[in-house]
Amino acid sequence: MPEAKLVLRGCVRAVLPENIDTDIIYPGRYLNITDREKTAEHLFELAYPGIRAELQPGEFIVAAANFGCGSSREQAASALKYAGVGAVLAASFARIFYRNAINLGLPAVVSPVAFKLCAPGDELEVDLTGGRVRNVTQGREFASAPLDPRAIELLQAGGLIPYLKRKYATAQGARP
């Protein structure tokens, strides 16, 4: 497993308002899809179908506060990840979504100002550990919360499952 990059570069696909709920990200009617890759097909399907249609691998979703509020559905995070989103930058995240994202290896970056200082199409450089975002297009830099070491460890492992898999493989199946 290659180590995940800690400085991400890509363009902003969309800048979204506050309270983007998990039904907007991934409609409830598709919850019986349990193949993670397939969840990508329904990303933002009802409210913003254009996002998935135009998304390029590694692009960023930027949002105002409380991104991912609502349901605990992990498909919201997996749809973003498997559609190719490089990271979500939001003023704040709902807690279950945040944990789901990190557990699936999708960087979720808290930046109170990103949604004000980024426009669709802007190229960004996002430093996950340094707590810094550079808007290359607009030539400005702003702060983000550095990911905590636990989150970095999970992202570098590729998510919680590969992390646990490795842990139990080295422990030869023994429980801690």
Binding site: N19, D21, D23, R29, N32, S72, R95, I161, K165
Partner: protein, 409 residues
């Protein structure tokens, strides 16, 4: 330093003398609940490569979102979960016809005890704080980790205390109270935090009504929510991030309505204006219990559901269904023109049994009104109390029970 209820429970579960907000603890899990998304958990669990779950007696699986299976795809996931449950010796399994909505079943079958750490792959797991448990929602992958290890890390939340005194006005219920609070605090107002409800108005509530408060606390982001139980309470010197005082009679003058498309878009009924209603839904883990059917039956008795409106009633569980039947509430509702769906989530999550067409308006006792939640992205859902849902079904428009024509004998 004194501890709040959340702090006390997390300290005990992580074998510490005390904990403070923002500390990270690894807590032992007492109960791990999943519904159909147990299939996602199962897949992740099998990937980890641990042969057995940590403790099959602490895992509860309840089918509710799509029962009976509405499609071959769902039937296939149900089947996979049944096989897994049998192979792992998980006996707390409530299949179609044995349970109902996960939160209702967990409560009525006595799985939850005060002081427990409960995790569930459903955001409304906060409901179980009504029984003094630290209960919170997690994702499927995280649950796979719990199935393997029986423990999970938590950031200790700070706590908001909400004290409610005074007497509720006629027709005003726990649903109106919590919608009022969500309207004040906002959809992220309790994000990452625990909420403690207390005060004379809370202490005189039924268990079912307390569940409404803990359940809907999720809609302001709460990680856990508590109503008072004798077994565990905060220390007198507990430190709160914020204390809110509400006088139920003074502050909640009329029924509260959460308007599309967010739960914190709350208005008093009279401010919503004239609103024709095509569908009225009475059910869900928020308001699908016997007391909700009792009030609805009282309102619709001797009346008829408006020709423009469909009234869909979904008991939260088999037990609720039987009790409401025994007490005659279902008979009364059906006589008025309601259809009774099988116990479960019904149309709440937009899958089946009452999906809305474009342009349709629904008044619902459920807990979410997000875009497309109950069907078309061009439909709208207004969240309200069971009393308002029943009255609106009769009036064919959003209505206060007091606004209905008197019943002619």
């Amino acid at each position: 330093m004194g501890m709040t209820i959340a702090e006390k429970i997390l300290a005990r579960a992580s074998s510490r003398a005390s904990v403070r907000p923002d500390e990270i603890v690894v807590a032992n899990v007492d109960l791990a609940m999943s519904h159909e998304n147990a299939d996602l958990v199962r897949k992740s669990f099998l990937e980890i490569g641990v042969p057995r779950v940590w403790d099959p007696s602490k895992i509860v699986i309840i089918f509710d979102h799509r029962i009976p299976a509405e499609s071959e795809k769902t039937a296939t996931t149900h089947k996979a979960v049944r096989e897994f449950v049998a192979a792992q010796g998980i006996t707390n399994f409530y299949d179609v016809g044995r349970g109902g909505i996960c939160h209702q079943v967990l409560a009525e079958r006595g799985h939850v005890k005060p002081g427990m750490v409960v995790v569930g792959t459903d955001s409304h797991t906060t409901t179980h704080g009504a029984f003094g448990a630290f209960a919170t929602g997690i994702g499927a992958t995280e649950m796979a980790g719990v199935w393997a290890e029986g423990a999970l890390w938590f950031k200790v939340p700070s706590t908001i205390r909400i004290e409610v005194t005074g007497e509720f006005r006629p027709w005003i219920s726990a649903k109106d109270l919590i919608l009022h609070i969500i309207g004040r605090l906002g959809a992220a107002g309790a994000d990452y935090r625990a909420v403690e409800f207390d005060g004379s108005a809370i202490r005189s509530m039924t268990a079912a009504s307390r569940m409404v408060l803990a359940n809907l606390s999720m809609e302001m982001g709460a990680k856990a929510a508590f109503t008072p139980v004798p077994e565990i309470g905060p220390d007198p010197a507990a430190v709160y991030e914020r204390v809110l005082h509400i006088d139920a009679g003074r502050d909640i003058a009329e029924p509260q309505i959460a308007c599309p498309h967010s739960v914190d878009n709350v208005k008093p009924l009279s401010a919503v204006g004239e609103l024709p209603v095509h569908q009225a839904v009475l059910g869900s883990c928020t308001n699908g219990r016997v007391e909700d059917f009792e009030i609805a039956a009282r309102i619709v008795a001797g009346r008829e559901v408006h020709p423009r409106t469909r009234l869909i009633v979904i008991p939260a569980s088999q037990q609720v269904y039987r009790e409401a039947m025994r007490l005659g509430y279902l008979e009364t509702l059906m006589a008025a023109g309601a259809i009774i769906n099988p116990p479960g989530c019904g149309p709440c999550v937009g899958v089946h049994q009452g999906i809305l067409a474009a342009g349709e308006v629904c008044v619902s006792s459920t807990n979410r009104n997000f875009i497309g939640r109950m069907g078309s992205k061009d439909s709208s859902v207004y969240l309200a109390s069971p009393a308002v849902v029943a009255a609106s079904a009769i009036a064919g428009r959003l209505a206060h029970p007091e606004a209905l024509e008197p019943v002619h004998a």
